[in-house]
């Protein structure tokens, strides 16, 4: 009886567990993305859409009273990267379904764009995420509705392929279009850029020069006004300017970063870049001297920094007291050589020779000194002299005196505490070059009186000093 119950209970709990697991798994496995963007109904063909939207004149009234043009040129879509690869209208416009469409409302034309923009992430999640980190997304979040979203740069229905599938780099034709794309909003900068060494070369079809995105990035465009951007900007310039393959074409040195980092300004900037990217520093980065969007050739007569007057003007932006000679205190990206900055070169050369010869020579003398002292010591130990011999040897070999004198001193103190210390001041000793024996006593006196500054102090610290002669002998 009880056994049958047990089996039944086990079966019941087992069934319950299986049911539970099954009911949980499908709900967690449901892709969230599908809930966010509805599954496109692929049975709705592009022809079906263009039967209405392919006919000009269709409009939709928005809340602000403007009319939204609903016409989409079928050829424009067909020639876009999406159309040419067979993507259907409903793959982006997934929630509209068949006609009649579900209700739609937008305050104005921009609101429509912002509402429809989210559909891009269904396929382009990576780029969409990056764009959400951009300065544009931040501006949008802060209420600037004009801040660029996907379709502002890529268009809605005429999206073009800008990337080389194999390299992941922008296609050459895309590079020409990029500045124009940015110019839709940033026209002032674009016009300045066109006059720069980079922009004018790009207009001539040169693929080596940077476009906007090479410095600012593509989807996660960074705020270029932060200290972080500023401190890391030299590395940006260095990406091309330390590349020998590119620079050799134009005869530009690839040492510009090294020489910058080695000099006053770059050392500090690089230090803060690594240690403290938020640090505000007044030290210039590349673009503070060379310009930002208006970068000119180094020999440009108006702005080029090879022209002495232009360089001085640039220096004076931070060094208002700078005069004519000041600009050459900056090595101008040169590595000192006999031709360029010979003074610096020869000072450096001097120390390269001086340190090994002079300091090395001194080191050698010290080593010789130590070894001779050690050899002397080991030689002296061998004879093991008798006390009588020590006394005899004493005047000849000075160091042997030391133990003897110490002994003697101890004995003398034990027998008679009277110890006499005679100070002989030598400060004016040169006035008495002949060691006249009878002149010795007054000599000492005069010396002491001659030292105005030191006498009180030495008499305080060592009263013995005050005893000029032998009179105070307690013995």
């Amino acid at each position: 009886m009880s056994r049958a119950f047990l089996v039944l209970a086990l079966l019941c709990t087992g069934l319950l567990a299986i049911l539970l697991v099954h009911s949980v798994i499908p709900s967690t496995a449901t892709p969230l993305a599908q809930e966010a963007t509805p599954i496109p109904n692929l049975s709705i063909s592009d022809e079906y859409c263009s039967s209405c939207h392919g006919v000009p004149g269709q409009t939709f009234p928005l809340e602000d009273g403007t009319l939204l043009d609903l016409y989409v040129d079928p050829l424009e879509h067909a020639s876009s990267i999406h159309g040419s690869q067979g993507y259907a209208c409903v793959q982006c416009h997934a929630d509209v379904g068949e006609y009649p469409h579900p209700p739609f409302s937008a305050t104005d034309r921009r609101d429509v764009t912002l509402q429809l923009n989210v559909v891009c992430q269904r396929c382009h999640a990576t780029q969409y995420e990056l764009a959400m980190d951009s300065v544009h997304a931040t501006a949008l979040a802060n209420g600037n509705r004009a801040a660029a979203v996907c379709s502002d740069c890529h268009t809605a229905h005429a999206v073009q392929d800008w990337v080389d599938e194999d390299t992941g780099e922008a296609l050459p034709e895309a590079r020409l279009v990029i500045p124009q794309t940015c110019a839709q909003c940033h026209n002032d900068i674009y016009q300045t850029y066109l006059t720069s060494v980079h922009g004018s070369a790009l207009a001539e079809g040169n693929p080596d020069v940077p476009t906007c995105i090479d410095c600012h990035g593509v989807h996660n465009i960074e705020d270029p006004t932060t200290t972080t951007f500023r401190l890391s900007s030299p590395q940006l310039c260095a990406e091309c300017h330390t590349d020998p393959a590119v620079m050799s074409k134009y005869g530009i040195s690839t040492e510009v970063l090294n020489t910058y980092v080695a000099d006053f300004h770059g050392t500090t900037v690089t230090l803060f870049q690594h240690q403290n990217p938020e640090a505000e520093t007044n030290k210039p980065v590349c673009y503070d001297c060379h310009g930002v969007h208006d970068i000119k050739r180094a020999d440009d007569p108006e702005k080029g920094l090879q022209v002495k007057e232009n360089l001085l003007t640039t220096c004076q932006k931070c060094h208002p007291d700078a005069q004519e000679n000041f600009p050459t205190s900056w090595l101008s990206h040169y590595i000192p050589s006999p031709e360029n900055y010979p003074l610096v070169y020869y000072v450096n050369l001097f120390y390269k020779i001086f340190i090994p010869t002079v300091l090395g020579g001194m080191g050698l003398l010290v080593v010789m000194d130590v070894s001779r002292a050690m050899i002397n010591k080991s030689r002296r130990r061998k004879p093991a002299p008798q006390p009588e011999e020590q006394a005899a040897m004493a005047p000849v070999e000075e160091p042997v005196l030391a133990p003897l004198e110490a002994e003697e001193l101890v004995e003398a103190e034990a027998a008679e505490p009277a110890e006499e210390i005679v100070s002989i001041d030598d400060q004016v000793a040169q006035t008495s070059p002949t060691p006249a024996t009878d002149a010795q006593e007054p000599e000492v006196d005069r010396d002491l009186s001659g030292e105005d500054n030191d006498e009180p102090a030495s008499s305080q610290t060592t009263p013995e000093d005050d005893q000029p002669g032998e009179e105070v002998n307690n013995g």
Binding site: N325, T328, S329, V344, L359, A394, A412, E419, G450
Partner: protein
Amino acid sequence: MSEQPMQTKTDSPPVQTVRVFKRFSLGQRWEHVLLMLSFTVLLLTGLPQRYRDTGWSQQILATPDMVYLVQTIHRIAAVVLILEVIYHLGAGIYQMARRKLSADIFITWQDVRDAGQMVAYLLFLRKDKPTFGKYNFEQKITYWFIFVGIGIMVVTGLILWFPETITWVLPGSVVPASKVAHSTEAIVAAIFIVLWHFFHVHLERLNLSIFTGKMNEEDMKTYHAREYDRLTGEKAGQDGGKQP
């Protein structure tokens, strides 16, 4: 004449006479302390600025505030050192002009001969060390090496401190040249102090006379025999002041 009375009196009780020779004035001793302190501070605040590409330096100079602080301490210590140099030169010239300071510190041909004899001794070409005056040639090298070094450091340091003003007069390239000289000379001076000065005053023998101002008779006889002879009129090598 300090010898005669002592010998007469030591007939019955033995008396040990220790004679002490004055070597440096109080002013000179203080100058050395000031030099030591300013040199140390300058070195400690200068090295991180010199080796900015190393990790330990970047730990110290991580923020603009720290760079400013380290530079400020460096410049305060520099001003102290410059004032000390001005005092040193002023006092030295004044005292020498009034014959209160001997000219022993200047290098003479005797020092060149001494150095030659010392090298010969170290190469076992001579049996005995040469005898020296008040300052031996090694001490004179120390003084003049530091003297010239400080001169270079002060001049180049001021150029680096006031580059705009300096280039009103001098060509701009003195600034980067000063940077090379300042940072390299600092290392030279530091190595020199440790290698040469520390060896001679700590390892070879402990010589604290720059702090006490005095030197005892044995050291005078052993290391400055010529000066001992000149002051006492005795021959140091004959063990004049000692009783066996």
